[in-house]
């Protein structure tokens, strides 16, 4: 068990190192930071002075270590676009993205998996065929088109929901949340559905295939041969074995929720990290991009770690390995 965890930690560390090198190289080799700060027509020795003050003349590894030192304290320099420290820019946007992703995740898991279980148990029923069609449409429609269609219906023609922005937010210490106000929730509905739809259909299809696989297994046949009740066979025996592989994929998929939030936030002008990174990329705001990269990598490493721990907790076969 310990050996397994150390393995995962090492894996996570490698990812972080790789990504930090990538974002460090972004900093140094893209766009000359000096000219941005000193201006186009500065003389040669002015540039030299600035370079020395920024420590750019030191050997690369030393610069890299200093970069990592600063990064660990959350110090990423100043955003070119917002002229604000990058860490503050990101901190202000983080709650919006996390709340949106959380609600979408709950929606995707809470609806997707039960639908998958139902479709797996009753493959022939009409409802299942309907669910399958919806799920196929679900993964065939890009999330930005879903967003646009929702805006067209609920915002433009029915005018029930706001088509952009996050509504009023309440500041709880450092975390400004939109979950406590009515307008906050009203503006959250459409983006959450758009973000959740793609994952929801993925979970449904995955659960359905896995459920049918398990129902064909030998121990289910033996359970039936022992005359156990249908309810126990389906839920106590089959469902438990179905959920194990789903956990890993669910973990990875929730991670990718962050990526999809970029699209949803752009469509709904949702003030989160997604919108921030798009603006940063089109503007070429390197510090923000670099910081975003590190943050996302950290998030994924953590999610992978949590998923592995969950896997251990649920599957006795792994636990028993000394």
């Amino acid at each position: 068990m310990l050996r397994f965890l150390l393995g995962r930690l090492a894996n996570g560390a490698i990812v972080m190192v790789l990504v930090s090198m990538l974002s460090f190289s972004l900093f140094n080799f893209i766009g000359d930071p000096v000219s941005n700060l000193v201006g186009e027509n500065a003389t040669v020795n002015e540039r030299e002075a600035m370079r020395r003050s920024l420590g750019l003349d030191q050997p690369l590894p030393l610069q890299y270590l200093k970069f990592v030192g600063r990064a660990v304290q959350g110090e990423f320099g100043v955003s070119y676009r917002n002229i604000e420290p990058v860490s503050r820019v990101i901190a202000s946007r983080l709650p919006a993205t996390l709340e949106l992703s959380l609600v979408a995740a709950v929606l995707a898991l809470g609806v997707g998996i039960p639908m998958g279980v139902y479709a797996g148990l009753k493959p022939r029923s009409l409802l299942t065929r309907g669910l399958q069609v919806i799920s196929l449409v679900g993964i065939s429609v890009p999330s930005f088109v879903t967003g646009i269609i929702l805006i067209l219906i609920f915002s433009i023609s029915l005018n029930w929901l706001p088509s952009f922005g996050r509504g009023d937010t309440v500041l709880l210490g450092v975390w400004n949340t939109g979950l406590l106000t009515v307008t906050g929730w009203k503006s959250l509905v459409m983006p959450a559905i758009t973000l959740a739809l793609f994952q929801l259909t993925l979970f449904m299809r995955l659960t359905r295939t896995q459920m049918m696989e398990v129902l064909r297994s030998e121990y289910i046949k033996f359970a039936r041969a022992r005359g156990l009740r249908e309810r126990s066979i389906n839920y106590r025996h089959a469902l438990r074995n179905t959920l194990i592989p789903i956990i890993t994929v669910a973990g990875l998929q929730l991670g990718s929720m962050i990526a999809f939030s970029i699209i949803t936030e752009t469509v709904f002008q949702w003030p989160g990290l997604g919108l921030l990174i798009i603006q940063a990329i089109s503007f070429g705001d390197v510090p923000v991009i670099a910081a975003y990269l590190l943050l996302i990598a950290l998030l994924f490493v953590l999610i992978n770690m949590v998923v592995d721990l969950l896997y251990f907790a649920v599957d006795p076969r792994l636990r028993a390995q000394r």
């Binding site: 893209i30 890009p142 433009i156 970029i262 699209i263 990329i281 994924f300």
Partner: protein
């Protein structure tokens, strides 16, 4: 020629052909796909107007609704966009671009993924470890994010002019780099199983080298799982390209894809010209839906267990 005849005859009697005929979603989606392919290839002939010939454009005709809506003209069946371009023509060219990027990136990711998967699966040991570590690292980033970062970073790294010409290539490479992991892991899995099978051992006994065994014996056995992934991932690639173009990255504005058209339409959504974004959107959904339908059928038909 004889083997051609033999294979055709064998195909017609095969279960595959029989099940294709029997499942409506399969042959309908196959037909729709052929239709799409036809439209894309013959775009220059079918399009009533060449949307890129600026001389032919007439700004007065801009933002006309589709013919069946009040104020629409028969000349522009689906109406016109912000620059007075006929929607039908611009959508045909858009479709061609989307399909091109989708297929090109899928082929590239297939070649990269299959080769790395074969090498990792067959060689094992350190090489296998390195490739799989890279795959794990990449897998923790979803495909769209990877494509986005590559495309975005290339935009900031390369000077604007260079970026303009290369952007098409960059999009294809970006999407391909985001999707190769699927192929690598599946092919590695199948190779690991096949390489220990006895028919490989039998050939090793006569002294055949690893590389030759890999291509003569193992490769033919991984084609059907790869085929299934390829079909399903064309849909994903088209979606990824459309997303990138929608976000303003992706293909250059000079040769718009369906994603670009949807973005342009979205900018004028609130001034009422809904068709500029909705029509390309529906065309895109139709394409991805039929690819996924066909892919689903193919996966079940080729899956020996489900037979």
């Amino acid at each position: 020629m004889k083997t051609m005849m033999l294979t055709v005859r064998r195909w017609r009697q095969s279960d595959l052909a029989w099940s294709l005929g029997r499942t409506p979603e399969a042959w309908i989606s196959a037909l729709v796909l052929l239709l799409y392919l036809g439209m894309a290839l013959l775009a220059p002939l079918l399009a009533p107007q060449n949307p890129f010939d600026l001389a032919a454009l007439d700004l007065l005709d801009a933002r006309l609704p589709p013919a069946w809506v009040e104020g629409g003209q028969l000349k522009y069946l689906f109406g016109t966009d912000g620059q007075g371009r006929d929607m039908v023509s611009v959508m045909l060219y858009g479709l061609r671009m989307s399909l091109f990027v989708g297929v090109a990136s899928t082929l590239l990711s297939l070649v990269v993924g299959v080769t790395l998967g074969l090498v990792a699966g067959y060689m094992g040991g350190r090489i296998d470890n390195i490739i799989m570590r890279a795959a794990d690292v990449q897998l923790s980033f979803p495909a769209i994010l990877v494509a986005l970062l590559i495309d975005g970073l290339s935009r900031t790294v390369l000077p604007r002019a260079v970026h303009e010409q290369l952007s098409l290539l960059i999009v294809v490479v970006a999407i391909a780099l985001a999707n190769w992991v699927q192929y690598a892991r599946t092919v590695r899995g199948v190779t690991l199983i096949e390489k220990d099978k006895d028919y490989v051992n039998a050939v090793r006994l006569i002294g055949m080298g690893r590389a030759r065994i890999l291509f003569r014996h193992v490769l033919p056995n991984i084609l059907s799982p790869v085929l299934v992934i390829a079909t399903l991932s064309i849909g994903l690639a088209v979606l990824t390209e459309a997303t990138l173009s929608f976000l303003g990255l992706g293909v250059p504005a000079t040769s718009p894809s369906l994603g670009t058209l949807i973005r342009l339409g979205n900018e004028v959504l609130f001034s009422g010209e809904w068709w500029i974004t909705v029509l390309p959107g529906l065309l895109l959904i139709g394409l991805v839906l039929s690819v996924n339908l066909f892919g689903d059928w193919l996966r079940d038909a080729l899956n020996p267990r489900l037979k």
